[in-house]
Symmetry: C2
Subunit: 331 residues, 2 copies
Amino acid sequence: MKQITLAARPNGMPDASIFRFEEVTLPAVSAGEVQLKGLYYSVDPYMRGRMNDKKSYSPPFELDKPIVGGVVAEVTTSKDERFAPGDVVLGSYLPWAEEMVVAADTIRKVDAKLVPPSYYLGVLGMPGLTAYFGLMDIGKPKAGETVVVSGAAGAVGLVAGQLAKLQGCRVVGIAGSADKITMLKEEYGFDEAVNYKTDDLSAAIEKACPDGVDVYFDNVGGEVSDAVVQHLNFFARVPLCGQIASYNDTAIQMGPRITPYLLTRSVLMQGFIVRNYVARFAEGLQYLTPLVAAGKLKYTETIVEGFDKIPEALLGLFSGKNTGKMIVKVI
Amino acid sequence: MKQITLAARPNGMPDASIFRFEEVTLPAVSAGEVQLKGLYYSVDPYMRGRMNDKKSYSPPFELDKPIVGGVVAEVTTSKDERFAPGDVVLGSYLPWAEEMVVAADTIRKVDAKLVPPSYYLGVLGMPGLTAYFGLMDIGKPKAGETVVVSGAAGAVGLVAGQLAKLQGCRVVGIAGSADKITMLKEEYGFDEAVNYKTDDLSAAIEKACPDGVDVYFDNVGGEVSDAVVQHLNFFARVPLCGQIASYNDTAIQMGPRITPYLLTRSVLMQGFIVRNYVARFAEGLQYLTPLVAAGKLKYTETIVEGFDKIPEALLGLFSGKNTGKMIVKVI
C-alpha cells in the first residue's frame, strides 16, 4: 500500500517535489489497535506551517515520515472492543496512507448516516469548530452589527459567515472569483461580497459596510486585511484565524502598521487555533450538528478523487482552487 | 490673563508655531460655576492625536479655541456649594489658561495633603489608571511571568512596570537613555532594562527574557514593538496603550506584518483608552492610592516651571525629554 511522506521542507511556495510516494507493508494489528482504510483525506491551509522546521502551534511534520492530518476511514480489522469492521471513524492526525494501523485511542466513530462522512472533516470537524469558536468566543457578534469574513468561500469562512447571519448581523464576505461572489450572496445569504482580485478593496469594503466593521473574521491577512482594518469601528473584534497570504513567505512581509488603528479604536485582535477550545468541542458540535442536519447551515466541498491527488489538492488551497472544504476522496 | 489656543493643525511633528498666546478677560462667575487659578498643567502624548482633524477616540481640539487637558487648580471664587475658595481641584478637560471660569460639575476636589497635588495628573490620575487597567484587565499578569514595558520611564510605563513587579513578575523595561535604564533598575525594581537607542533590541529582549514575553505593555509601537513581538509566548497578551512612535506620522508607516506572529502564538492584542474604564475609576484609585501613600509605588515627575512653557513641555514628550510624568507648574 502507498503512503505519502515529506521528502523535503519547502522554501516559499511548495511544489510536488516535496512529497514522496512510498510502497510499504502494513504492520500486524496489536491489541488496542485497529486497521483502517482511508475514505476521505482532509487538506488544510494550516498544514503549510507544519512543513517548516520552526516553532509554531503545531509541531513540524517529520522529514521522511508520512504527513498526518484529518482522515475519515473505515475499520477493516479491530483489536479494540470499541470498534468493529465497517465502522466509519475520524482521526485528526492520521497518516496519509491508503491503509493504516493505528491506536484505537486516536480515532472516534462518526455517524455516517446523519451527514456525508466527509463533513466530519469540515463543517462538523476542525473547520466548523474553528468558525464557531472564533466567531462566537472572540468575535462575539451582536444583532445589527457588521461582520466581515475574509476567505469567505473557504471551509471556515462559509461557516463563520452563516453563523454571523444567524446572529442577526450584516455579513460581508471577501473572496477571489466572480463565481464565489455570486455563490456567497445567492446561496449562502451573505448581504454583500467583495472580490479582492478585481475590486478596489478599501472602497468596496467602505461601500459594503456603511456603518463600519464590528467584527473582522480574518482567514487571509496581507493586503486584504490592510483594507478591512481601516474600516474597523470602535471596540471592533478581530478573530485571527488564518493568514494564508503569508504562509508561503520566506521572510516576514512588510505592510502598513496596524497598531495605530487598533489603539485609537480600542480594537481587540486575538490569534487562536481550534485546539485552544478542545475542552469545549462537544458544545460546538452540539450547536452545529442540528443546524447542518436541518439545512440551516449550508455547506459545500471541492472533492478531488484519488489518493494520488492529495498533494495537488493541498497545493491548490494556496491559489484558491477550492470552494468550501477541499477534500480528497479515494476511488 | 493668558490662554493658549490651537492656531493651526500640525502636519507631522508639531512646533511652537501651532500655539497662540492670547490675552483675554475672564467672564463673570454665574451660579453653578467656579473661578480657578491653575497650579499644575498636564501635557500628555495623547494630545497629539487631538490636534488632527480626524476621527479618533477623543474629538479634535477646536482651532482658535484654548487647548484643554488635565489641570490641578485652586478655587478663587465659588458660586457652587460644593466648593470654597482655597480648595484644590482637578479637571481632566480644563483650558490652558492662567485663570478660568468653569462649571462646577467638571471638577472634583483632591486631597492636597496626602500626596503632592500634581500626582492627581499622574500616578493617581489618568496615567496611573491607564497603567492599572491596561496591565490588570488586559495584560492579566501572573506570578512568574515575564512582562515587558515600552516607554518604561514615562508616566504610564513606570506605574505599569511596578504593578507587574507587585504581581510577582519578571519585569523588563525599554527606555531611551542610560540614565533612564539605571533608574529603572536601581530605583524602580525592574529586573532588566534595555536601551532602544543603543542596544540591538531584538537580541537584548531575547537575553533579558530567557523564557519569552508573556505580557507586552506597549506605549510606543514602531521598531521597538517589532523587536518585542518576535519574542511573544503562546497566549501572550499585548495591551496597546500608546503608539508615540507614530503620533507625528503623516501617513501610516510600513513595518513588518505582525499578524502571523499573533496567529501562530494565539496572542491577544487589545487597544484601549482609560476612558473605557470610567465606571471602574474608583476601583483603580482604591488600589493605587494606598500603594503610593505607603511608598510601595514610586513615582517621579519632570516639572517645567511657568505657564508659558506648556507648549515646549508638550513637544518635549516626543523626544523623550521627560522622566516620569511631564508637568508644568505655574510660578
